[in-house]
Symmetry: C2
């Protein structure tokens, strides 16, 4: 058996064995829901599984923070410099350990800082195999299995979105921003195919629409694509962060009056900060009546499609022309894993193909329709599909569903706790729709202050100061930001199924401890 086969089988086995510890008796797919901690439902005998992280060290830190200048000066012999001559193997091992030591444990059950978190062991094993295979996604000749896996995954994801079997196409992209960029690129080409050869100069002044709570990638893509950020109309949202359909209607009318040509609407299923779901059916109606491309940015919310309990929050997504869905967020797949799904078959290829002869020869000895590399903007494309496929095998669709449910239960638990505890204030009152929970910590000194600009000014400084202390201590990590007129607040998100209620209690207690004197 060739080298690489041994390499990877051993890898998977050791990853799994390492992580499943002494729980091997049943030979069940023990790691399907494993992050640092085993979670319920992952195995038939979950009580036999240890908390892996505690197995190794009970009171580990999420991070061991150092300032840039400290790391650059060299800590305990950790040097970032690039030598002319080789270092020894011992030194390389020290370099590896130090890199991890001074990094951040994003798989830690108390890491709440980003939409991507956790560390699924099967996913990691999949990524390791991918690295070992070290190939590119452009042609069937060098990636036969991975290209077929991509096809199978995309087809499955489209069917979950609700498109017919004979509809659709797609690609895995380097992140949600690039997936969103594809959607605009495709929409533009769909309405104005001459843009490919003649450029934007041949087109009328286009307008596109997205909500004030949507991801900044929509504007960024407009800049990149030569549409211009001022031609991105930002539509008002309600208190909960959902786009207001009537405001969208008005924005479209206003743009038309100004002589712009509307062509694209981005709806968000799971906004970055609030986790809000735009009313997709209402937006689809508007897009239909104005003949606009409807894109759904479900980078964060797409995972909810895997859950019978929560998928109704994306009702209407089946009416979209394109969908961004990042399994590396809510589905816990290791970074990076983001898909752009497109309803109109053939459009990706038409829009992007250039037919480079050194890659895409028509006289190859196999069906060259499997050489999908000309569909993409990129030439070489990283293999992001195998880890998702392997996790799907390990969990089944149902496993992903349970994992999503678990994360949303955590969000509800946090929401309940925040309502009960007087030290905290919710940013919006409604029960969370996604796993985002936004709140302020009100330190004792501010509790008796009346609402107003003085309180706001002081409250604005609270979250950054607590965050600073949190980073120094390294016990837990959560993000904060202002939004609109709201001063700095914490945003907690759950995408790591290893997080337990005790971790959430710990987070709140820790914020209170760190902020008590503010």
């Amino acid at each position: 058996m060739p080298f690489s086969h041994h390499f990877c089988s051993n890898t998977l086995l050791s990853a799994v064995q390492y992580c499943s510890a002494d729980a091997h008796e049943g030979m069940v797919p023990v790691c399907s829901n494993t992050a640092f901690r085993q979670t319920e439902g992952a195995v038939s005998n979950p009580e036999k599984l240890k908390n892996l992280y505690e197995l190794v060290e009970p009171a580990f830190k999420v991070l061991d923070f150092h300032h840039p200048h400290q790391l650059k000066e060299g800590l305990e012999g950790f040097s970032l410099d690039l030598p002319d001559q080789p270092e020894t193997l011992e030194q390389l091992l020290v370099d590896c350990r130090d890199t991890l030591k001074y990094g951040v444990s994003t798989g830690h059950p108390r890491f709440f800082n980003q939409l991507s978190s956790g560390l699924d062991v099967i996913g990691v094993a999949g990524e390791w195999l991918t690295s070992t295979a070290n190939t590119n996604m452009f042609t069937y000749e060098v990636s036969p299995v991975f290209l077929l896996i991509e096809e199978v995954l995309l087809k499955k994801m489209r069917s979950i979105v609700g498109w017919a079997d004979d509809e659709g196409d797609g690609l895995f992209c380097p992140g949600g921003t690039i997936s969103n960029l594809y959607s605009i690129l495709l929409a533009r080409y769909h309405f104005y195919p001459e843009v490919k050869t003649r450029g934007m100069g041949a087109l009328p002044r286009l307008a596109m629409f997205t909500s004030e709570h949507s991801h900044y990638s929509v504007k960024k893509s407009a800049a990149v694509l030569g549409i211009g950020t001022e031609n991105v109309v930002v539509v008002k949202c309600d208190e909960r962060g959902k786009i207001i359909p009537a405001a969208l209607e008005t924005s479209i009318a206003t743009a038309k009056e100004k002589g712009l040509v509307p062509f694209y609407v981005n709806a968000t299923a799971g906004t970055t900060v609030y986790g809000a779901f735009d009313p997709l059916n209402a937006i689809a109606d508007i897009c239909h009546s104005h003949t606009l491309w409807m894109h759904v940015d479900a980078a964060w919310g797409g995972g909810l499609l895997m859950s019978d309990r929560h998928r109704m929050k994306l009702q209407g997504i089946e009416r979209a022309c394109s969908v961004t869905w990042n399994p590396h967020k809510m589905m816990g797949v290791p970074l990076q894993c983001s898909a752009i799904l497109v309803k109109k078959r053939g459009l990706l290829q038409e829009c992007n193909k250039l037919g480079a002869q050194y890659l895409f020869q028509m006289d190859k000895p196999y069906d060259v329709s499997y050489d999908t590399g000309d569909k993409s903007i990129q030439c070489g494309r990283h293999v992001d599909v195998f880890k998702l496929w392997l996790m799907w095998k390990a969990k089944g669709s149902d496993g992903f569903g349970s994992q999503v449910n678990k994360c949303l239960e955590n969000a509800e638990y946090l929401y309940d706790q925040l309502q009960k505890r007087t030290e905290f204030e919710l940013v919006f009152k409604n029960k969370p729709e996604h796993s985002n929970v936004c709140f302020w910590y009100i330190p004792p000194s501010l509790r008796s202050l009346p609402p107003g600009s003085d309180r706001d000014r002081r409250l604005h400084q609270v979250a950054p100061r607590i965050k600073g202390r949190m980073m120094e201590k390294g016990s837990v990590l959560i993000g904060y930001q202002p939004l609109g007129t709201k001063v700095n607040f914490f945003r907690c998100v759950f995408s790591n199924p290893a997080t337990q209620q005790e971790d959430i209690d710990f987070l709140l207690d820790e914020i209170c401890k760190l902020g008590a004197d503010l």
Copy 2:
């Protein structure tokens, strides 16, 4: 020690131990040049190192080809389908083995099909650690070490290009096409900063220039950016594939006469098929006199900068405004690893920043200039730097130089053999400048035919037919393509330092065997 630390130290150790076999006595950095085979100079006692690939199996295949429909139908129980319920661990292991079995061994010393090949064990260990760290490149807060590593690498690469210490910026991007796209995006913004807000509609009709042998990513980017492919002027090359400076001058003049506004020239250092180096100083003179942005696409040729023997082939690169350089090609770093280097500091940030408050808060407790995420088009960005950094530690700059030299010696050896053997014809007579060697195999039935369209027509079918047989047999893999008026020819490229002269002899013998009856 936290879980992930154990995880990775063990991983690196086992990768290294596995690959260095019984050669541990000296505890030298045994794997710095390891691919499947150990190469000379990698260790102080190279004679003690076995050929690893042969250790495992002497006559292994490069690939075990099956057509798409065969793999989709399920071979010996290999199913691509995604289940609702979990599979067993045993089945997952079978899935992993089958994925590798039906894939292509791009690290095989007889894989000559792509510019990226080999399998550097330290690089793979670096990628494994990266997967385990599972983080994003946007903020210092979640990627402190990786962001500093990126800074150190980019600074080193810029100094190797020849820029002053206080000059320059850069990013690692998902592949050379995206790096090239950045160069055009930056050039456009540099001359017309209003494009970011107002779009291409506010600009004159731009023109950009690239050679007929350059990579198709230049045209593709022009389509994406809204410039349009017809505004990309394709400049003639000489017989050797180098751009003709006088032709570039003429093309610029012609474009101006037509009312277009030239702004950007792409020069290639190492073309995809011929491995040609454009005359950079002559192009820099032209760009200077017309005030054009000069980009050097050194995705493939950049590696030669690491070699004292070969770096003079890129003379003039220090005059470029931007450079694409893919360590995942000639430097043998696992996919993906591509850098865009920019001379003008601050431009990346200005061009791409949008200042999303949920990521890039200004009131963070550290120096937020290290939050480089707003420089990129992407939001989340994969960590592509650690493996390169670790390999640099393991080899030193000198080790990369030796590796490049070895690959170019292989190309010269192939060139010499082709000149000696009457069954082959070179596509161009000159000694290779890079590791590309282009040639025809002339089967016995064609050897007596006079040059002309009949011979060309038949010769055109030879390479595809041999390639088909080669894939079925799986013994070796090499690419072919037509180019301009030249009918299908083989292109051999060397980027795997594990390839030996016997592998090259094998390639030529195998082509003769497979094509003898054509």
